[in-house]
């Protein structure tokens, strides 16, 4: 019963040590806190999701097991290494126990302790996930099974698998580092697998199988679940999860057997390769006393400190860097960069980008490498602090005449050197990534600035913290755990309500590098923050130096007494300096962020919007004049980041009644110096905080009459903000716009007429928090706002004539809508002269425009009298030709099929990558640096999203600026959805159907995934407002399905009619119902049900081919018989589905060899339930099925087609 005794002793030993309990308490506390934060956070984010929904509990279980890896690593590395470390091995090796008993005993004992910790978490959660800890309204009904099931299916098996792996690594390598590295690897592996499969779906089954935590299997599980299902459905312990668990059970067995096989019950030193090197024993028994040849004077003046410091730093760093462990780490990091690097250099839509240094260096400081560096910093800090003690050299070293602070700073410097080496490894790997992609413009200086300037300081700050923690905690493993917790805390600080960067150690205001604008406005605040935290780091160093353990006394009282003794002049000076920096830099930052830039927490910022609505919402329906003309004089000073706009609006009363009171929104972000009217007026309300102004005219504006309003606006950033500095105006790459419905609030600097509903809070949950009643996202399409006889014109968009003179610095080009009437230099203005551009539109355009200024290179060509101009960054030439071609092709196709292009020019202008988007303005497109300009297009395998984006934005010149949607529900259906569909047609023209199918395949996956993650109820396509998923992903699927059913030409004809009816500026503006009517007109009546399914409702199909039989029908023909199952569902907003009877026309197809045309493709009536379809084809069938091109939205599309196995039938 040796085994049981070893297990018993192991458990007993562990449970009697306070260390175990501290570790356990810390883990359980952290795990519960994190799990609750995530569960409650998700529930709050996603409106109807319950915080205790089975899916969220499952997610929490996975998070807990990821966090548990740290604990397992600490426990199992100790189990594997304790006997060596304490030099007990020889005693065990000589005991009459088998190695199986020994290993199994250690493993099982530790496993039980670990399992104990882990199983406490679900129990705690069961108790905590209820009022008063969680708000009642966030909770669903309590079910114990919700917690038990993930614990049994996920949590405990994960402990077993990872425990076995970590234990095996510990036993076989005899290295703590290897154990922690394996834990980190599993952690990152799970995360990366999840990331990876979203991009490469083909690998999903593999990733599901190999992830030991079950994370991937779980997310696969819910991938397409709707809110309703997430709330009610228990975890599917489906095949993929079972296979995963089975595979890992087998693997665990194999790992343990392998460990048993390799393990030898001997003392480590004999097992090491270094057999005692042959000792040249030369010393005779008698040694003649030989005094030292000279008498040396040791020197202890200030100069001796430098070599001592250098020696400690250098030797410690050398010891760490020139080791096998480090070589392995370096290789792994290089592999990580090389395997994920080129993969990760992509835009928000996973389209690969050219590996410019800004992207590669950006990746090298991104989450994954930064996390690795943080973990290594933690690890090496522990090694350095405990270095002498772990080999037993501490007594000798401690008795050496080196001051404590030299030892401590020497070790910090050693850690710095290690970090520098690691950064160098990363940089070298980055260069390799560039070379292998054929990119040779390395921009070494940029690498150095990012890796060794900005990011290294972050790591050094972390190093100071890690060293302090290790010194204070004085236990290597517990130290690691505490540092990791500090780390998690900083990562999740905002969840704990800490938003200001002065409050979270190491945080700064963040930065983005752009080739166009470089570090722009980001650098200065970041450096201030670094200085501020540097002050703290210095303070940490002082504290650590005072608490540094020297000698044998480790009691708290003694350490404190020693610290007091050590607190001499030097420490006092350093403390004073640190305090000075912290207070000085902190004060300066506070003055900038809070006093000058007016810092507000997210809640306070929301509260401002809420207050605006509460106070001035009553003016929402007040009749207001419409803007019909805008004349601007804009002076841009890029260097000082200042813009002055003097302008005049022409306001016309388009209502039926006289208007006396004008409401204005004057953006509080800018200084609106003057607003005046060309007739007597009186300010009634002037609220500068919320930006509202009400003006009463001395003489009312009669219907149909106009008046002029002049204004003078100045944008000048004051101080710097806590985060997200304003990037509209930068040294190079200025871009600001005036877009009534645009997403970026702070860009709308010019006065806006009327109460602005767009400033209201929109998310239901947020509105509730601020005590506001729920509100529809937009007026209903059937509401009275559309009644053109009504006085309420809020839903009517404005059209204006636009004219602007823009001045900028002489080397920059300013771009705005309209024809460039004149451009001139004014050498006398400003310091280095000014350059001016005068633009004007020839016909009224929708009231949305943007102004750009940068050192642009220009590509210019003409197509049928339309000037195509591309303004781009001089080195970003990769896709200029491609863009020009896409613009040409778009103009060609749209003009032919929808109607003429209304302007004489179309411009595409680049702006820095602060936002990754493309946005259309009348005659103009803003295209971000990293969307399109730098996309690395692979036409053969991927979708040419660069061309697609441009084609979509060009299409908005028809859908959005000719057919202007009324501002009611469904507006994006008329603009965005049609623009996307049009772009798809251009892509088909350029590349053919294959690329279109690839694109739609991605959209389908994205639609079903996003649908499951949505934070507000889904709506049918006709009712969309800000439902990005429905617009961007479902939109093209629906339009393409229609096109396949109805045909491209009838659909184009319908769209042409839409342009003809609504194309001229001015009412009646189009709604989604107008579109629907046109589509109905173009669709044969037998498909009207389909229009309803696709556009008017949320409908999903489940189509399945269950069996196929094929028999020869003579003359090389075959009779193919398909067994088909079908269901059709209508879904509610939160995804609750009800089956509806189906009797739809669905494609049935039979295919020969993969590349050939289909042998058969006809529509058949498919009813709900099972049915048999029999067709005769000319040719050998290979595959057959129902809805083979997946026109109908089906969550399990892979079972639509089945292979026909002919041989078997013969």
């Amino acid at each position: 019963m040796n085994f049981l005794e070893i297990v018993r002793f192991e458990i007993d030993y562990r449970l009697r040590r306070p260390y175990t309990w501290i570790l356990g308490a810390v883990f359980v506390g952290m795990a519960c806190l994190l799990a609750m934060k995530v569960m409650v956070g998700e529930a709050e984010r996603a409106g109807d999701l319950h915080a205790n929904a089975p899916s969220l509990v499952g997610m929490a279980a996975v998070l807990v097991s990821m966090l548990g890896l740290v604990i397992s690593a600490a426990l199992f590395s100790e189990a594997a290494l304790r006997d060596d470390d304490t030099r007990m091995s020889s005693l065990f090796a000589t005991s009459p126990i088998t190695k199986t008993e020994y290993l199994a005993g250690r493993f099982v004992g530790t496993l039980l302790v670990n399992a104990l910790f882990v199983s406490v978490v679900p129990i705690m959660l069961m108790l905590l996930m209820r009022p008063p800890f969680v708000k009642e309204e966030l909770l669903g009904p309590f079910r114990a099974a919700t917690y038990v099931q993930p614990a049994i299916a996920l949590l405990l098996p994960s402990v077993l698998f990872t425990g076995a792996l970590l234990f095996a690594v510990g036993v076989l390598t005899r290295r703590t580092l290897a154990v922690f590295a394996t834990a980190a690897f599993v952690f990152l592996g799970g995360m990366m697998a999840e990331e990876y499969i979203e991009g490469e779906r083909g690998l999903a089954p593999l990733a599901t199988l190999i992830d030991p935590l079950g994370f991937v299997a779980l997310s696969e599980n819910w991938e397409f679940w709707t809110t309703h299902e997430k709330n009610t459905r228990p975890l599917d312990v489906d095949a993929s999860l079972l296979w995963n668990r089975l595979l890992w059970t087998v693997l665990t067995g194999a790992i343990l057997l392998f460990t048993r096989w390799r393990f030898r019950m001997t003392v480590p030193s004999q097992r090491r390769k270094g057999r005692l090197e042959d000792q040249k024993e030369v010393s005779p028994a008698h040694v003649s006393p030989r005094p030292s040849s000279r008498l040396f004077r040791a020197s202890f003046n200030g100069r001796a400190r430098i070599p001592q410091f250098v020696s400690i730093a250098g030797d410690s760093a050398r010891e760490l860097v020139f080791s096998r462990d480090f070589a392995v780490i370096a290789v792994l990091m290089a592999i990580m960069v090389l395997s994920f690097g080129s993969e990760s250099i992509s835009d928000d839509f996973r389209t690969p980008l050219w590996p410019l240094t800004q992207f590669v260096a950006g990746f090298l400081v991104s989450f994954l490498p930064a996390l690795t560096m943080a973990l290594l910093t933690t690890f090496y800090a522990g090694e350095l602090v405990h270095r002498e003690r772990s080999v037993g050299l501490a007594d000798i070293a401690d008795a050496s005449p080196v001051p404590d602070w030299i030892i401590y700073t020497g070790k910090v410097a050693a850690l710095g050197l290690v970090l520098v080496t690691l950064q160098a490894v990363l940089m070298a790997s980055g260069l390799v990534v560039q070379v292998t992609s054929g990119h040779f413009d390395f921009e070494i200086a940029l690498y150095l600035r990012i890796l060794f300037g900005l990011k290294l300081t972050s790591y050094l700050l972390l190093a100071a913290l890690a060293m302090l923690v290790h010194v204070v905690v004085d236990n290597k493993y517990l130290g690691h755990v505490v540092v990791v917790i500090c780390h998690l805390f900083t990562m999740f600080a905002t969840r704990f309500g800490l938003h200001h960067n002065l409050l979270v150690y190491g945080r700064d205001s963040g930065w983005t590098y752009s080739d166009i604008s470089q570090f722009g406005p980001f650098l200065r605040p970041v450096l201030w923050f670094k200085l501020y935290w540097g002050g703290w780091a210095l303070l940490f160093a002082v504290i650590a130096g005072l608490l540094w353990i020297r000698g044998r006394d480790r009691g708290v009282a003694t350490r404190l007494r020693l610290a007091r003794q050590r607190f001499g002049r030097r420490a006092a000076f350093a403390t004073a300096l640190a305090a000075l920096i912290v207070i000085g830099a902190g004060g300066f930052i506070f003055y900038n962020t809070n006093v000058l830039a007016g810092y507000r927490t997210p809640f306070e910022a929301e509260e401002q919007s809420a207050e605006y609505e509460r106070r001035y919402g009553k003016f929402e329906n007040a009749p207001q004049p419409a803007v019909t003309g805008t004349k601007l004089h804009v002076e841009i000073d890029p260097e000082r980041r200042v813009v002055d706009v003097r302008g005049t609006y022409t306001l016309v009363n388009k209502t039926a009644a006289p208007i006396r009171t004008i409401h204005l929104f004057l953006n509080p972000e800018v200084e609106t110096r003057a607003v005046s009217f060309d007739r007597g007026s009186r300010v009634v309300i002037a609220d500068d905080t919320l930006g509202h102004r009400t003006v009463e005219l001395a003489q009312a504006l009669e219907p149909g009459r106009s008046l002029h309003m002049a204004f003078d606006v100045r944008f000048e950033p004051r101080g710097f903000p806590n985060s997200d500095p304003n990037t509209s105006v930068v040294g190079n790459g200025t871009y600001f716009d005036h877009d009534g419905g645009g997403p970026v609030n702070h860009r709308r600097w010019l006065p806006l007429v009327g109460y602005q509903t767009s400033r209201e809070l929109s998310l239901a949950q947020v509105r509730r928090e601020h005590g506001l009643p729920p509100r529809p996202l937009a007026p209903s399409v059937t509401s009275s706002v559309l009644d053109s006889s009504s006085e309420k014109t809020a839903a009517w968009p404005e059209t204006i004539t636009f004219e602007a003179v823009i001045g900028t610095s002489p080397e920059q080009t300013a771009v705005a809508p309209g024809t460039l009437l004149r451009s001139w230099n004014d050498p006398s203005a400003g310091s280095g002269g000014r350059r001016y551009f005068h633009y004007a539109t020839e016909r009224p355009v929708r009231n949305t425009f943007a102004i750009f200024s940068a050192r642009y290179a220009v590509h210019r060509e003409t197509w049928n009298g339309v000037v195509i101009e591309l303004f781009y960054h001089p080195t970003h030439t990769f896709n200029v030709e491609r863009f020009a071609k896409a613009v040409r092709a778009s103009l060609e196709y749209y003009t032919k099929n929808f109607g003429p292009y209304p302007h004489r020019q179309i411009r595409v202008a680049a702006f820095p990558r602060y936002a990754n988007l493309a946005h259309a303005y009348p005659g103009m497109i803003a295209q971000a640096e990293a969307t399109g300009w730098l996309t690395k297009v692979d036409e053969r395998r991927e979708v040419d999203l660069a061309s697609m984006t441009v084609a979509r934005e060009v299409a908005q010149q028809w859908w959005g600026f000719q057919v202007i949607p009324a501002a009611v529900e469904g507006a994006p259906a008329v603009s965005e959805v049609l623009a996307q569909y049009s772009a798809l047609l251009v892509i088909e023209e350029l590349y053919g159907m294959d690329m279109v199918r690839r694109f739609l395949w991605n959209r389908r996956v994205e639609y079903l995934t996003q649908r499951s993650k949505a934070n507000h109820p889904e709506v049918p396509l006709l009712d969309v407002t800000n439902h990005a998923n429905v617009i961007d992903n479902k939109g093209p699927l629906v339009m393409y399905a229609l096109r396949q059913y109805v045909g491209a030409e009838p659909l184009n004809a319908a769209l042409r009619r839409l342009v003809a009816t609504h194309g001229s500026a001015g009412p009646p503006f189009a709604t989604s119902r107008d579109l629907y009517r046109e589509l109905q007109g173009a669709t044969p009546p037998e498909y009207h049900y389909l229009l309803k399914d696709l556009l008017e409702t949320i409908t999903l199909w489940n189509l399945r081919t269950t069996a196929i039989a094929a028999e020869p029908a003579g003359n090389g023909a075959w009779r193919v018989t398909l067994d088909v199952e079908a269901q059709k569902f209508r879904a509610g907003g939160s995804g609750k589905e009800t089956e509806v009877p189906m009797n739809d026309l669905v494609d049935v197809g039979v295919f020969g060899d993969a590349s050939a045309e289909p042998l058969y493709l006809q529509k058949h009536r498919i009813r709900s339930g099972r049915q048999r379809i029999s067709v005769v084809v000319n040719g050998t069938p290979a595959r057959a099925g129902v809805d083979p091109h997946q026109l109908l939205i089906d969550r399990n599309w892979s079972d639509n087609l089945r292979p026909v196995i002919v041989e078997q039938l013969r």
Binding site: S269, G274, L276, E277, Q279, K280, V282, S283, A285, H286, V287, P289, R290, P291, S292, S293, R294, L295, F296, A298, S299, F300, R303, A304, P307, Q308, S311, I312, D315, E319, S323, V391, G392, L393, D395, I396, A397, D398, A399, S400, P401, V402, P403, R550, G551, R552, D553, G555, T558, R561, L562, Q565
Partner: protein, 303 residues
């Protein structure tokens, strides 16, 4: 050369062990032996002198230096070889010695090279200076420890149980090294092996359970016992009776027979032979308790 003076030094560990109880010692230059059984408080005393541990009360002075407060000053002239120590197994002897030489303030490169060479030669490690320390035998490592301790000719050298675990030849080599050092500094050698002290030390103290039992010069202590140690061969049965009647300070086996040593002024009787006392007898006499007062008083008087 200054004395090391220890006054009223006391230390009680959190687990209640009284490691040091009002220790008073004056240690002159030369080799000083600290003799005592395991757990007597030797190491605690040594570590306290070596600035590695804080006493509960008491004072230690090295000449004018306050050892407990001017730690950094003391360390400049301190060599310490702990009872147990490790080395970085992957570093060579030369490299690590060089490292410590820098830490010891020998910052000029040329000088340091000379010091390192001379120390490696003195400790007979010159030929293995390029070897990894992980491959060193116990004796080699011990000598390497002495080399570190000797860097910069410290005025105070503390050597804790250096001969434990050494083979006889290594032990001889080692003691020779120490003897050489004793000419220049205060060398405190703690040991539980009596021969170490008798062979090397000019002065010695016997310590047990945190108290000094005896403080003397070895030859004087031995001389004082002249004529007071008697031995007799006893059988196992007789031993108990003998222990009741006489002060039996030690029993040992010689060729299978038990020989008892008895402390007594004048012959204890029939069958006892007078033996020429050695330091072991001093040690055991002191340990038996009867004897402490006598010599302890002498030591105090002397100081």
């Amino acid at each position: 050369m200054p004395d090391l003076r220890i006054r009223d030094l006391s230390k009680t560990y959190p687990n209640g062990v009284h490691a040091l109880q009002r220790i008073n010692l004056t240690i002159p230059p030369g080799m000083y032996g600290l003799l005592g059984p395991n757990g007597a408080g030797k190491s605690t005393l040594m570590r306290t002198i070596a600035t590695l541990q804080e006493p509960d009360e008491g004072e230690i002075h090295l000449g004018s230096l306050d050892v407990l407060r001017q730690k950094d000053e003391v360390r400049k002239t301190l060599g310490y070889l702990p009872q147990e120590f490790g080395v970085y197994p992957k570093t060579t002897a030369e490299r690590l010695l060089n490292h410590f030489a820098v830490l010891r303030g020998i910052t000029r490169r040329g000088e340091r090279r000379d010091v390192v060479e001379s120390l490696l030669r003195q400790t007979n490690l010159w030929d293995v200076r390029k070897q990894k320390l992980g491959g060193f035998s116990g004796g080699m490592r011990q000598r390497f420890g002495v080399a570190i301790a000797m860097i910069g000719n410290p005025r105070l050298l503390i050597v804790d149980e250096p001969t434990a675990g050494l083979d006889p030849a290594e032990r001889v080599r080692f003691l020779n090294l120490l003897a050489e050092l004793g000419e220049q500094s205060v060398v405190i050698l703690s040991t539980h092996i009596v021969e170490d002290v008798s062979e090397l030390c000019t002065r010695m103290a016997i310590i047990d359970r945190g108290r000094i039992l005896l403080e003397s010069e070895p030859h004087r202590a031995v001389g004082d016992l002249q004529g007071r140690i008697w031995s007799r061969v006893v059988s196992r049965d007789e031993l108990a009776a003998l222990e009741r009647e006489q002060v039996v300070i030690s029993t040992k086996l010689l060729a299978g027979r038990t020989i008892a040593h008895v402390f007594r002024d004048g012959s204890p009787g029939q069958g006892f032979e007078a033996v020429a006392p050695d330091l072991e007898d001093v040690y055991f006499s002191a340990m038996s308790g009867r004897y402490a007062g006598h010599y302890g008083a002498a030591a105090t008087a002397q100081s």
